[in-house]
Each structure stands twice: as structure tokens, then as C-alpha cells.
Subunit: 294 residues, 2 copies
Amino acid sequence: MSMTNNYELYKVFYWAAKSGSLSQAAKSLYLTQPSVSHAIKQLEESLGLTLFYRTSKGVTLTQEGTVLYSYIEQSQMLISLAEEKMSALKNLDSGELRIGGSDSLFKHYLLPYLELFHRTYPGIRLHLNHGTTPEIITFLKEGRIDMGVVRMPIVDPQLAVKESLQLQDCFVAGAAFSGLKDRVITLEELLEHPIILFSRNSRARMAITELFRGYGYKIKPGIEVGSVDLLIEFARKGLGLSYVAKEFIAKELEDGSLFEIRLDVQLPPSHVGIMTLRSVPLSGSASKFLELIQ
Amino acid sequence: MSMTNNYELYKVFYWAAKSGSLSQAAKSLYLTQPSVSHAIKQLEESLGLTLFYRTSKGVTLTQEGTVLYSYIEQSQMLISLAEEKMSALKNLDSGELRIGGSDSLFKHYLLPYLELFHRTYPGIRLHLNHGTTPEIITFLKEGRIDMGVVRMPIVDPQLAVKESLQLQDCFVAGAAFSGLKDRVITLEELLEHPIILFSRNSRARMAITELFRGYGYKIKPGIEVGSVDLLIEFARKGLGLSYVAKEFIAKELEDGSLFEIRLDVQLPPSHVGIMTLRSVPLSGSASKFLELIQ
DNA sequence: ATTGGTCATAGACACGATCTATAGCTCCTG
DNA sequence: CAGGAGCTATAGATCGTGTCTATGACCAAT
């Protein structure tokens, strides 16, 4: 579709026009002067126009050459900017990292890594998209995020999932239920108390519902909340027993504002996985972040 | 100074990104698919980044590729515009023609040619710069005009001058001097009447002064004017005898509002020359106009 | 399973970009 | 005025590389 079959000629033209000398242009381009002379001639022939006045002290643009230069100069600038930008992207001086996940995982798991990453590569813009697991998967497949951080298990042939963290969920309570402290509680007894669970469509919620059903019980929360922070807060205020990953409440267990309820059954651990699209290479920033996490 | 040694790769990249298919790009560029595949690979390697996701139904840009595309697209657009513009310049659909000369020559000599030229090439912008002969020569040497139209003789080794029109200067008068009609007048008698001449620094003025001096007379105008139109107008109003090229007053001679004064000496013809810079190729529009003039 | 599309790879070839060498020109200098 | 130092243009040889053909691997749809 283009009339000139070699854009290289424009590069030569640009340098020749810019420096006003074919010899100078040759130096800038690491070519010899005859090469440049020839290139310009080729360009002139292919356009059917004379672009330069040749004098014994260099070259100057003709009317037509001046017009051409005004376009080519900008075009070269853009390429030059593009190359700078690409170099920045390569060195992770620029770019973006888009992660999907739940707020709780961001806050309680990824936060320190994100901090470190941001300090190491301050030029990379971080985009944190929160959503449910299916939403995250959709985002990923649409290319709107680079990776997703969700609870396992994930079964999807398009996704590469790497298990990265094991969580031990448990029931916890605050001072209001101190009668349950230091004892082993049965599921039956547990269910006599108000239960605080994560909202219905979450992975963790489905897992615990399933678990109780396996033992022949139906778990029915008194309170449903949308964030781990509220699970913790409500338990502390004595509104009920929260079901939450032990790793997320290390501080509260430490200072005694919450205690773990020991059950007569073993609650299964859950896993956090990092999903990426199997078929698609990672961006520079994404692969660097993955590296950093492990 | 540039990191990528071949801008051709960007062209290939552009078409591949634009069409989302290496095969398609190959068709657009009149290449084979492996060539395109290889070119993209080369570009990716030289940038150190992956630009495309390859799938079995084409390619799509990666994050980095998208960034690159945003620059390259514009760059290609500019080149494409440049090529269009160059084509227009070549076909004289666009461009400019800058002529230097005196108002009188524009009006009485060039006007019909300018009209024809403008009708033939309406896209060409005409710039008419008037000035004295030395000014015109300066303009020409500075590259501010493409050609100059002035009275001969011009002696300047840098200039190519083509004689294009012979003018016969003569003295004319209007009805007020009808006593001079149908007679042969001597120079002496002529000088008894008020004379209207062009302003002092003009070629025509210098020529006539010189001529009279050769005959031993000193010509001293009663009125000096700055344009041929005023020469004509003042003569018609009877303010004196104007010295003017016969070719410029064809209409007035025809309708009888002016008549030529016959002298006992032969007034030398003068010539109009078209000057161009000897060392410098003409612009497309300029050479076309020269062609048209002859 | 077959077909038709995609992109990737390998290896051969030929064209053309680039080089060296030289010439012509203009300007400047001793 | 001769000679030198710039500049660009030209000619011809050479080497590199861009391009091709042929083929493979993969995927999706029939």
C-alpha cells in the first residue's frame, strides 16, 4: 500500500536534512558518505522529486524537501520516543502491573510484596482489581489483568495456577465468649452460638458450608459480612464466632483480643493460588512480581 | 543513535498489529508469511520484549506491544501523509510557486499566464513578490522566490536568465497633446514638454536617461511615478508625455485615449528576462510554469 | 479424522545495501 | 595561481541479509 518500499530511506533523509550534510549523516548512521548519497538519490527517484540542493559545502532542503521534512521529523520523533518507552518498559522503569483478587488477600497476603515491588520499581503503576473468583477469571481471560490471586481450587484448562500460600481457617471469638476458651468444642455446640460468615458467594463460605454438610449439619450464620476486616471486628465486639483464616488474625491472637476455638474435628486447610493465562506470556512486570513472591 | 537498526521492522509491526494477523500483514506488504514472522521476531529480540500473543487464529498485542503500537501508528500515519503530500507535490496538486517581479510585469505580461496556470493547477499557491531588480535578485539568492521576472540586462554568474519578451518603449500622450500627433518629433522638441517617468531606481528609467545622455541631452521628468498604471493614467489625463512599453498600452492605443509619439531617433527595445538560480534545480511548479510561458 | 487456517523453523538463494576508490566541484589559503 | 581541504557523485566489487520455498507444529471446526 505504500509507495516507497524502504522506510530506511526516511531515516537517512532525516539525518541528512537535520545535519545539512550527507557526510555528517553518514557518521551519525555509521555509514559511508556514498551510501547516504545513494540512499537520498533513491528516495528522490522513488518520490519523483528533488529533495536537496547539493552544494560544495553540504546540502539544503528544497521546497519539496522542506515539506517532507516537516512530516518525517515528527515521525522520527515518535519512533525515538517509542524506543525510549520500550527501553523503559524493558527495564521496568515504566509499565503497569494489574492484579485481580479479593480485598482480604490484597491486605493480608500481598500487601508486603506490593510494597516491596513498588519501592523497587516505582515507575510501575499498580492496578488492583477486586472481585469474586469468577469475575477475576473473566478479567484474566479478557486480558484486563495480568494475574489473579484467589482461593484454590481452580480447575480451568486455560489457567496456570500456582499454589502460593496455605491458610488455616478456624473459628475465633472475643472476650464475650471466653467460656469457650481452653476447651474442645463439638460442632453441635458451636452451632448453638451465633456464627459470622463471609458472604454467600465466596469460596471460603462455600467450603465451610460443604464441610458441615459432610458432618450432617447445616451451618446458618447469624451475620453475613463482605470483608475479612468485618469478620474480625464483629468477633472482637462479641457479636458471634467468626470463621476466618488464622493467618489473617495473627495480631489479634497475639494481643488476646481474639482466641481460637478448638474443635473436635480437623478443619481442612485452604490454599491461595496465583492464576495466570496458560497460553500467554507474562508482561515484564508480572513475571518480575511472580518471581518476587516466591 | 537508534537502538533498532531497521525501521522496516516497524512497518511490518504496524501492519501485523493493525490486521491482527501475520499472514494478512504479509499480503499487505507483498511478503510471505515467514518473512513477517521473522521480522516480528527480530523486532522483539532487538527490543527485548514480547510484542504479540500468538494464537492459532492470529496475533494480538501484548501490553508492551500495545504501547509500542500507539507510537508507531502515529509515526506511520505521518509517513503515509507525507507520501500523499509528496505525491500531490509531484502531480502539482499542491505546492507553491513564488515569483518576484515588478507590478507592471505581473499585470501586463504575466497575468494571463498566471491565470492559466492557476486554472490548470488550482492546488498551487501563488506568491507574487514585487520589488526592485536588486531586491528580486536578493530574494532569489536567499531562496525566498523560485524565479524573478525583470528587465534585462542582468549580469550575474549565479543567475540563469532567459530572455522571454521584447518590449518596445515609447513616449505616449493623450488628447491634451494632440498637436504632436501624426508628426515626427525631435528629442529637443520632446523635452520642451513635461515628461512623466518611472521612479529613479528603475531599470527602464536608467535606460532612458542613458539613452538621452548619449544624444547629448539630459532628461528631467516633471513627474515621477511608481507604477506603470500611473504612467498611463497621468498621460491620459494630459499631465505630460509618458515613457512606457508599447505592449502595456495596447488597449489605450486601440481606443485612442493615448497615441504614440514618433521620434526622429530609434528607441532601443528592451527585454524582459526570467531569472533563476543557476546552481539550483527548479521546483516542480516553477519548471512547469516556465514551460508554460514559452 | 480430516481439512483449512494459524504461526514457527530451516536452509538456500539472490538481490541490494554498503564498501572502497576515484572524480569533479567549490572555497579557502599560502 | 597552485594546492589543499572540504563537499557530493559515480563506478564497480563484495558481502550480508532479507526473502523465498518447503516443512512442521498447533488449533479449531467440519
